[in-house]
């Protein structure tokens, strides 16, 4: 299945883009999606366990993904 990864702020700078697609096996989790980024240039500048949202809601690392999910990797928030 294919999911979309969204990157923001310093993480988008690190990987040089703000979105990408990943192919993952059925049953893959948030953690698997993170592992799927591991080989990409700049991914070493992401922390080992960043905050993640799936489809605009905060998600745990063991959340199971479905085809078409939007997985957002969230840098430390700095609003206000």
């Amino acid at each position: 299945m294919t999911i979309t990864v969204l990157l923001f702020a310093s993480y988008a700078d690190a990987l040089g883009r703000s979105a990408l697609e990943l192919s993952l096996p059925q049953g893959a989790t948030v953690a698997d999606a993170m592992a799927g980024l591991a080989g990409m240039p700049g991914s070493d500048r992401l922390p080992p366990s960043p905050l993640v949202a799936v489809n605009e809601r905060w998600a745990a690392r063991d959340q199971v993904l479905r085809a078409g999910d939007q997985v957002a990797i969230i840098p430390p928030v700095a609003g206000g």
Binding site: F8, A9, A53, W58, P75, V77, A78, G79, G80
Partner: protein, 147 residues
Amino acid sequence: MTRAALRDQPLDAGAMLAEVSSSTNGAAVLFVGTVRDISEGRAVTGIDYTAYEAMAVRELESIAAEAGARFGTEDLVVEHRLGTLGLGEASVVIACAHPHRAQAFEAARWVIEEIKRRVPIWKREHYVDGTREWVDPTRAGMEAGRS
């Protein structure tokens, strides 16, 4: 009804105060966060605010609704600015009215703390030396310098 929004134009604190005010309320509290000229001892000239917009709006709305339920008011609005802001410009405005002052203060305070905790908004500071840097509040030493 509580209300939340992201804006790419200057925030209108006066209009938000008027929006929550009514004769059923005895107290209104307005909080305005603004771009400060110093951050962690470095001279700042401006800040870019960016967000995961769909999620940020959802979180802001949820914070406003939760604050309304928690403190007992429907008269609470919050807006956050996006884009490039100059010194002194408002980045966030919270307006809250309540029959009683204690709850109006507490609701406004709770909302700004929740925004800083869980709304996916980021800021990149511009420094006088021309450099720019994303702000990471989780980095040691950052907290003391923030508004």
